[in-house]
Amino acid sequence: MIQDLLYSSPSLANFGIFFLLATVFLFVILGFVTYAILAERKVMGFMQLRHGPNQVGGRWGLLQTVADVLKLLLKEDTIPKLADRPLFILAPAIAFAPAFMVVATIPFTDSLQFADIGVGLLYYIAVSGLTTIGIVTGSWASNNKYSLLGGMRAAAQMISYEIPLVMSVLGIILLSGSLNLNEIVEAQKDGWFIILQPIAFIVFLIASVAELNRAPFDLPEAESELVAGFHVEYSGFRWAFFMLAEYVYFFAMASLITVLFLGGWLPLPFLGFIPGAVWFALKFSVVVFLLIWFRVTFPRVRADQLMEFGWKVLLPVALANIFLTALLKELLNAF
């Protein structure tokens, strides 16, 4: 349906439909973010012998995040006197717009995808890199030493981890022969790429956690070192925008891992009667749980060790993986 619309002639009606779809999608994502935060707090609570939210919205704290967002809306919006005002205001928007843009390419089921781009994977990686500009801008514009340190770390981290991330994905591209996310999922009919590309999966997982700035790679906002890192000076809804971007990326990255390595909406053998959306949701939840588990378990990596690990370990391993994949593929084809 969406494909047809894309190729039809532009009209006000089409625009209206697109606008409506985008709004619906926005609310789906916001709904996810709302409950991802709750899930994270609940899972963390479970692992840390706490209850997590259990007051607002029944005993499961279902409305806790809503209440938090309302609080953030009501908070005073402070801008430091010596901050670079236009950039300070612009930064959260720069950080959060790409987060929504990347979600459009994720195929949730074989029919539910908002933009079936031929080079979907490339698009995802390219656009998601933009967020760092928002973070660096915000950290610079705040005119605060801690946030500057956080921003610099974010930039260095992005460069160091984007490269292994892309390199690890190349193995998959070699196997599937496409950058289109739909075709990558289709290529996993015979075996998920987590089995065919275990090295790539591990590299991708580590690099993606670093990309998401989540523990153990949450250096840009390392609470115990940099107070709050790049968003020290942000408050109220501007701060919420950064958080929102972070969680939308969380959503997008978990979806991407599902698509690239866990076979997207493809069912397990003999269980094909369960709809694809359910499969996607299940695999997605497993990834989300894993990422939350990481956060609860690991201490934070030190900034210079993070760089070393990215360049000296992850990158060579990813390159070796490409070499190995190409070699094995040729050998298998030869016989």
């Binding site: 963390m44 012998l49 153990p216 070192e225 956060r295 201490p299 030190r302 900034a303």
Partner: protein, 366 residues
């Protein structure tokens, strides 16, 4: 022309990882620290001066508030000093209660350190696990003294309250439980590659440095100095227990970490033996005059607190208040090596080094 300039960074007094109101002014060149200057005194309350106008029993609550993570040892040091001056023989049961309270408090104190240090390093969960166990200790001490943090439990000549019924059994049950939990701690943290990389070789100093800077406690023992006042100058009834002095050779944050965790085990050994030997009946208070007057003269005693050697000097002119009172506060002395350790280090190591020293600001500032 490209020009770089040094950045002056104010860490604290409202920084989340300075464990209170400690302020550190660091100059950084890029990410390398070129100069570090600690600024202390935000929590100074003048305990020593206040004590000059207080009777000896009245001073005890003030000591609670110095090293508030381990109030029992502070209580003990002032009582011990006065008892030494007056030559009071403390009843056995009271001594056992004191040792139990102090060792439980030592375990609690090390747990707080362990939890908050991991929090500094960036792991949130260990903090909550440590506080679960600490909560049990606090509850035990609460039953004993009626307070959770500022115990005000010891008195000159004994202790304020006897152990409630069943308390000793609860302590006995706690020991194996804590040992079990310690195994979990080691599994969760000690073997973690990220953690090891962050603390190994960080904040290293030699034995000579440790002696020159008058470090004590785990900060000294991490360099291979085998010095523990409980063993080397036994006070109270510590000569009745069989335990080891823990020391490590590394001199870095990792060695300090290992020392403290091993000390928890040694404390548990002492608690176990104290529970076994605990006299079933007896006085908890020696015969002391209603108004305590230390004889004219002076005395200095020192004991092993979780943070190091805590000392108490009393000069008395025979009145019911001391003429002069001075505490040797181990955190304050241990902190002095910080500027030396920080110069040349990466800013990312700052918190790891500061945390490993284990300071309590109430004690640093007095």
């Amino acid at each position: 022309m490209i020009r770089t300039e040094e950045m002056l960074l104010n860490v604290g007094p409202q920084h989340p990882s300075t464990h209170g109101v400690f302020r550190l002014v660091v100059k950084i060149d890029g990410e390398i620290i070129t100069e570090a200057k600690p600024v202390i005194g935000y929590l100074h309350r003048g305990t020593e001066k206040l004590a000059e106008n207080l009777q000896y029993t009245q001073i005890i609550p003030y000591t609670d508030r110095m090293d508030y993570i381990s109030s029992m040892t502070n209580n003990y040091v002032i009582c011990h000093a006065v008892e030494t001056m007056m030559g009071i023989q403390v009843p056995d049961r009271a001594e056992y209660l004191r040792v139990l309270a102090m060792e439980l408090n030592r375990v609690a104190s090390h747990l707080v350190w362990w939890g908050t240090y991991l929090l500094d390093i960036g792991a949130v969960s260990p903090f909550l696990y440590a506080f679960r166990e600490r909560e049990m200790i606090i509850n035990l001490l609460n039953e004993l003294s009626g307070a959770r943090l500022t115990f005000n439990y010891m008195r000159v000549g004994g202790v304020k309250w006897d152990a409630p019924e069943g308390w000793i059994e609860k302590v006995a049950e706690f020991v194996p439980y804590m040992r079990e939990q310690l195994k979990g701690y080691h599994q969760l943290v000690t073997g973690n590659e990220i953690f090891i990389n962050r603390v190994k070789g960080v904040g290293r100093y030699t034995k000579e440095d440790a002696l020159q800077y008058s470090l004590s406690g785990a900060n000294a023992r991490c360099t291979g100095i085998k010095w523990d006042l409980r063993k080397d100058e036994p006070y109270s009834i510590y000569d009745r227990f069989d335990f080891d002095v823990i020391s490590r050779e590394g001199g870095d944050a990792w060695a300090r970490y290992e020392c403290r965790l091993a000390e928890i085990e040694e404390s548990l050994k002492i608690i176990e033996q104290a529970v076994e030997q605990f006299p079933r009946a007896g006085e908890i208070m020696a015969k002391v005059p209603k108004i305590i007057k230390a004889p004219k003269g002076e005395a200095f005693v020192r004991i092993e607190s979780p943070r190091g050697e805590i000392g108490c000097y009393i000069a008395s002119d025979g009145k019911k208040e001391p003429y002069r009172l001075k505490f040797r506060r181990p955190s304050f002395y241990n902190l002095q090596i910080l500027p030396k350790l920080l110069v040349g280090e990466n800013i990312a190591n700052l918190i790891a080094i500061l945390g490993a020293i284990d300071i309590v600001l109430g004690e640093v500032d007095g």
